[in-house]
Structures are given as structure tokens and as C-alpha cells.
């Protein structure tokens, strides 16, 4: 056992895979000697050297292009896009190239690569450095989308992502980087596409992702005090999407509440809601309620940002609306 932060877990997960497989290389801005702006790659440059840990110019398209071309030809690159908001300057590589190439080439090209990125708000960085853009990725056929909430999952899902033969977008949550947990020593390898039931309760199913998971748990604890027993599910990945775990739970509870950090329109909760509304509508005993950030850019001021992002109180309110 070791007490690790979420950010240390990133470096440990990467190191575990770089140790195992010499085709794994790391590409990004300030990730080398500097250890990354979130200090999530500290020590990797010292350990694996400049041949495997490569600093780049500020050229996100070039970073993702390099990762893609390397993955086509035998490597397993891990690219960093520093803040997930910056995917907007290189979205072409994700949406048009990396995601589509296997399909367009009728399976000739395989792209085992990981793009990791600091995602999400709550750190007062303002509208251009705080977005939750895992939904942008979910809308693109051909990529997998992972967003761990726990320190152990960071390692396990990083390993699973690196070993996965498909391109994976790996969203690290900025507000969780300092979170600490005890994790087992030795190799940790997770599995993509398996949601985690964090606590069980028979009254309502609350589904959350990344930094919303601890908030959902907090809400569930407060609800328990009020006699309402919630199941909390951590989705962990959006693609593959573990609908079965959610549907099973809804079959038992009859109520579904999704908790999303993203702005309202077209968050992943919409997809989940539409699936349940199509396939499991007769299991429902009340409306599916989505708790999200309102459909606005994120404000910088702490007082406003705290109002924007879902809080345990707003989750409780959502649960009450579903149960009403």
C-alpha cells in the first residue's frame, strides 16, 4: 500500500506501462524535465530519458499527428493535451483522423494511442481552461473515452488504455489532482467499459463521472440521513458505455438521476437518458432528472463557479424531483 495523489497516480500508471513496453512513448508540452504543468509526469523524464519523453513546441496538431503516425507504425504513444479545452485547436486530428482511420481503411490501420488531458472545472481558471469536454469525444465514433474518479482507477484505467488497441481519450480531472488515496503496490490493470457501483440503495440510481462522483456520494450520504437510499454508479468510461449496469440498477430503483459537470445541452446524461427512455421506459417510476452545469460558459470568480457546478445540494434536489 502507498498513499498516492491522483496526479502521482498518473505518473505511476504511465511508468508501469513504459517499464513493461518499450514502444510506449510520451509526447507533449512541458512534460519532460518540467514534469508537466499539473506535475502529473514528474520523474518520467529522469527515468526514461529524452528519447521516450519528448517535449514539443506549442503545436497541438503536431502533437496528435505525431502520436497518430507513430501508432500507425508500431509505437504506443501517449500524447498530452495540457488542458482539455485545447482539444479545440487539434480537434481535426481526433474527430477526422484518429477516430475514422480504422474504419475508412477497412481495418488496415490500428491506432493504439492514448491522449491524456486535464479536464474540468472548479479551479477558477475561467471559461477557456475549465471545460468538461468528454462529451465532445463521446459524439465521435471511433474513439474510447475514459474519465477516472479515483486514484486507483487512474492507474488501472491508464494501463488498460495504453494496452487497448484503439485510440483512447483519457480525461484527468483537474480538481482531483490533489486527491489522495491508499493504493496497492505492484501492477494495477483495470478494464475499460465497466462502471463501478460505489454504493447501493433501493430508492434511486445516481450516475456520475470523474469529479461528480465524490459529490454524488456526498449527496447519497446526506440523503441516507433523510431515509432515501441511493445507488451511486461511477461510469468511469463513456465509450464503451456500461448501460447494462445502469439499466440493472434502474430496474431495481425505478429512478435515474445523472450528475454531469458539463453544460446542459448534449452532455452524456442526455445519451444515457435517451437510452433508458427508449429501452427501459417501463422500469421508470418517475422522470429521469439530469443535474448539470447550466448551459453557460464557466465563470472565473470562485463564487460564481461554485454556483455553476453541481453541488451535493443540487443533486439532492434532482433526486427529489425524480422521486416526487
Amino acid at each position: 500500500m502507498a498513499l498516492l495523489t491522483y496526479r502521482e497516480a498518473v505518473a505511476r500508471g504511465i511508468a508501469q506501462e513504459m517499464d513493461r513496453d518499450s514502444s510506449v512513448v510520451l509526447i507533449g508540452e512541458d512534460i519532460g524535465a518540467a514534469g508537466g504543468v499539473f506535475k502529473a509526469t514528474v520523474g518520467l523524464y529522469e527515468r526514461f530519458g529524452p528519447k521516450r519523453v519528448l517535449d514539443t513546441p506549442i503545436s497541438e496538431q503536431a502533437i496528435l499527428g505525431a502520436a497518430m503516425g507513430a501508432a500507425m507504425t508500431g509505437l504506443r504513444p501517449i500524447a498530452e493535451i495540457m488542458f482539455s479545452d485545447f482539444f479545440a485547436v487539434c480537434w481535426d486530428l481526433v474527430a477526422n483522423e484518429i477516430a475514422k482511420t480504422r474504419y475508412m481503411t477497412n481495418g488496415q490501420v490500428t491506432l493504439p494511442l492514448v491522449i491524456r488531458s486535464g479536464n474540468g472545472g472548479g479551479v477558477r481558471f475561467g471559461a477557456q481552461h475549465s471545460q468538461s469536454i468528454e462529451n465532445w469525444a463521446m459524439a465521435i465514433p471511433g474513439v474510447k473515452v475514459v474519465a477516472p474518479s479515483s486514484v486507483a482507477d487512474v492507474i488501472g484505467l491508464m494501463a488498460a488504455s495504453v494496452r487497448d488497441p484503439d485510440p483512447v481519450l483519457f480525461f484527468e480531472h483537474k480538481a482531483l489532482y490533489a486527491a489522495k488515496e491508499d493504493v496497492p503496490d505492484g501492477e494495477i490493470v483495470g478494464e475499460l467499459g465497466r462502471a463501478k457501483v460505489i454504493r447501493e440503495g433501493s430508492d434511486v440510481t445516481i450516475v456520475a463521472l470523474a469529479a461528480m462522483v465524490p459529490k454524488a456520494v456526498a449527496a447519497a450520504e446526506m440523503l441516507a440521513g433523510q431515509g432515501i437510499h441511493a445507488t451511486v454508479i461511477d461510469l468511469r468510461s463513456l465509450i464503451p458505455l456500461d448501460v447494462a449496469t445502469v439499466a440493472d440498477s434502474v430496474a431495481r430503483t425505478g429512478h435515474l438521476v445523472t450528475v454531469e459537470e458539463n453544460p446542459r445541452a448534449l452532455g452524456w446524461g442526455a445519451e444515457l437518458s435517451s437510452i433508458i427512455a427508449e429501452e427501459n421506459v417501463f422500469d421508470l417510476d418517475g422522470p429521469i432528472v439530469r443535474v448539470t452545469t447550466p448551459h453557460v460558459p464557466l465563470p472565473a470568480a470562485d463564487s460564481l463557479e461554485d454556483l455553476a457546478i453541481p453541488s451535493p445540494e443540487r443533486i439532492i434536489d434532482g433526486v427529489r424531483r425524480s422521486l416526487a
Partner: protein, 349 residues
């Protein structure tokens, strides 16, 4: 010189770029270059005919007139080297050894196509031949080519990556990022700008502040400025050999600007009427295939040998046409195949 003046005199200006006496390929190589060019030419002409017959669906971008560039690199490259091309990539696929049937089949959306119709004419890919893809978003593939070159360098396996693109591509951000990173990382990559003087329907001179859209940018990346006559297979071949050798020997990337011209419009729907007739005529007179034939004959290559090359290419095209016509459309099951490496498209459980 104003834009129009330049365009008018372009052919003679271009001739002045040539320095093909040195490094001129030997006769066997020159015959191979001719053979390659003829194959490309015949396939593209047939593709045009088939489009007129409604058999090539969607779009397609012919490389008629630009054959010398693809042929020169295709001939100079080694097996295992990587090619990255654009939507105007039929020439480049063929020049790396991809069969006519699989190219034509793809244009026609048939199951004999390189990607069984899933990609289409703009995305010809044959990993087996080092043809690592044709890309239809301007600029992106320059960055991807870097990745392949980086991989070769990392693995120490000695392949060179060659990346073809057009003049218009030099104005997009990805061009800048890609050439820059290649220079910083000293990658074994050769960037080849086929300057055919036009983007889609707009003259490159109208929207570019320098005369040589690629070569005049080379210094911005610490690279040498290289301009070559893209209609002269000998000059192209010599240039290719040098650049490939530099890359393979660890001397880093090159950025080459080859002056050329497309004989037809930008894509199948375009008659290319925006081009002054005298300009078109002047360039047609510099047809890379016809002029090269004359040059070979002058150099003592037998006319019969060249005739045979042409006949063989024609037969190959006929056969490819036949095979493609007879090939069924792709199996409907392909729709849901190969989104992911497990062969399927499942995104939820």
C-alpha cells in the same frame, strides 16, 4: 512580376528551375520512370471516362499532369518507406505498387477496392505497400507523416516518410506545425509540395504573400529552399534521391517545392474554366509524359520499347476496369465493421 505576368511566363520560368544534368538517372531507371508515369496517366484518364459514365460516384481528384512527381518518388523510394498523400492520391498509390484494380475498385465503391469502398477515392490506403493513407482535410497528414518518421527514428529501422501536398496547403496552420516539428526533431521525412498553381478554383498567387508558397517558407524552419521542375521526371528523381538520402542518413527533413500543373479541374465536377487558356496550353505543351517520351527517344531508347510500355499499361487499365465493373458492391455487413480493433462497432454494453 505581377501574378498574371508570372502565370503567363510560368512554363519558361519553370524550365529554368531544372538542373537535371547532374544526378540524371541511368537508362533503366529512366525507363522505369516512364513506365510508372504512363501507368498513372492511363489510369487517371480511364477514371475520368468512368466518371463520365456515372460509374465513379462521389468525388475524385485526378493527378493528370502531375505524374512525374509521384513516379519519381515511387521509383526512388525503398520498400518499407512510408507515403502520405492527399485526396489527389491515385498517382501516389499506384507509384508505390498498389494494383490498378484496387484503386479503380475503390473509386467505383466495389468490394475489390483497396478499402472495399469504405474510404472512397479520397482515402486510398494500402499499408502493405507503404501507402499510409490519403487524407482529405488539408494539412492534417503532414503532422501524421511526422509520427511515422518519428517512429522510424525511434525504432532505428531506417524507413523514410514522404508526404505530398499542394500549394494551397502551405497556408494552413497544420503545415506550419508539422514542418516546424520535423525540423526540431530532425525527422527522416520529406515534404513535397506539388505546386500546381491553384487551390480549388483560386490561384495560389491571389492568396499567398510569397512567390514560392513552400520554398519561401523553408527558412522559417531552418530548412533549405528547394524548387524543382515537377514536370521533369529526371529532375524530380535526382531531387528525390538526394532528399531521401539526407533523411535516411540522419540529416533531417526536406521541404521540396515542385512546380507543376493539373491538366483538368480540381475535382470531377470542375471544368477548370478559371484558368487562362494560354496558361493551360503552355503547360500542356510541357506535359511530363509526352516530353519525357521525346527525351528518352532522343537519348536512344527504342520507340518499340516505349510502345510496349504503353500497350501494357493500357491492358492493365482495361483489365482493372473489367475487374472493377464485375466486382460486387461491398457486403452490407461492412457498415458495422472495423470502427474498433475488435472488428466491430460496439460502443455500449
Amino acid at each position: 512580376m505581377t501574378v498574371n505576368e508570372y502565370q503567363k511566363v510560368a512554363p519558361s520560368v519553370v524550365t529554368a528551375y531544372v538542373s537535371s544534368q547532374e544526378g540524371r538517372p541511368d537508362t533503366a531507371t529512366r525507363v522505369a520512370l516512364y513506365r510508372s508515369m504512363v501507368r498513372l496517366r492511363y489510369l487517371e484518364k480511364r477514371a475520368h471516362d468512368l466518371f463520365l459514365q456515372g460509374l465513379v460516384k462521389g468525388t475524385s481528384h485526378l493527378g493528370l499532369g502531375q505524374e512525374a512527381i509521384a513516379a519519381a518518388f515511387g521509383t526512388a523510394m525503398r520498400k518499407g518507406d512510408y507515403t502520405f498523400a492527399t485526396y489527389r492520391g491515385h498517382n501516389h498509390a499506384l507509384a508505390r505498387g498498389v494494383s490498378m484494380t484496387s484503386v479503380m475498385g475503390e473509386l467505383m465503391g466495389r468490394s475489390c477496392g483497396l478499402m472495399a469502398g469504405k474510404g472512397g477515392s479520397m482515402h486510398l490506403t494500402s499499408v502493405e505497400h507503404g501507402m499510409m493513407g490519403s487524407y482529405a482535410i488539408v494539412g492534417a497528414h503532414l503532422t501524421i507523416a511526422n509520427g511515422a518518421a518519428f517512429s522510424s527514428k525511434y525504432r532505428g529501422t531506417g524507413e523514410v516518410t514522404v508526404c505530398f501536398f499542394g500549394d494551397g496547403t502551405t497556408n494552413i496552420g497544420a503545415f506550419h506545425e508539422a514542418v516546424n516539428l520535423a525540423a526540431v526533431w530532425q525527422l527522416p521525412v520529406v515534404f513535397v509540395c506539388e505546386n500546381n498553381l491553384y487551390m480549388e478554383y483560386t490561384s495560389i498567387f491571389d492568396v499567398t504573400p510569397v512567390e514560392n508558397p513552400a520554398a519561401d517558407r523553408a527558412a522559417a524552419y531552418g530548412l533549405e529552399s528547394i524548387v524543382v521542375d515537377g514536370n521533369d521526371a529526371d529532375a524530380m528523381y535526382a531531387t528525390a534521391v538526394t532528399a531521401l538520402d539526407n533523411a535516411r542518413s540522419g540529416r533531417g527533413p526536406s521541404l521540396i517545392e515542385a512546380k507543376t500543373y493539373r491538366h483538368g479541374g480540381h475535382s470531377r465536377a470542375d471544368p477548370g474554366k478559371y484558368r487562362p487558356d494560354e496558361e493551360l496550353q503552355a503547360w500542356l505543351a510541357r506535359d511530363p509524359v509526352i516530353t519525357y517520351r521525346a527525351r528518352l527517344v532522343e537519348a536512344g531508347v527504342g520507340v518499340q520499347e516505349l510502345d510496349l510500355i504503353e500497350e501494357a499499361a493500357l491492358k492493365e487499365v482495361d483489365r482493372a476496369t473489367e475487374e472493377s465493373r464485375n466486382s460486387p458492391p461491398p457486403d452490407p455487413s461492412l457498415l458495422m465493421k472495423d470502427v474498433f480493433a475488435d472488428g466491430g462497432a460496439t460502443w455500449r454494453s
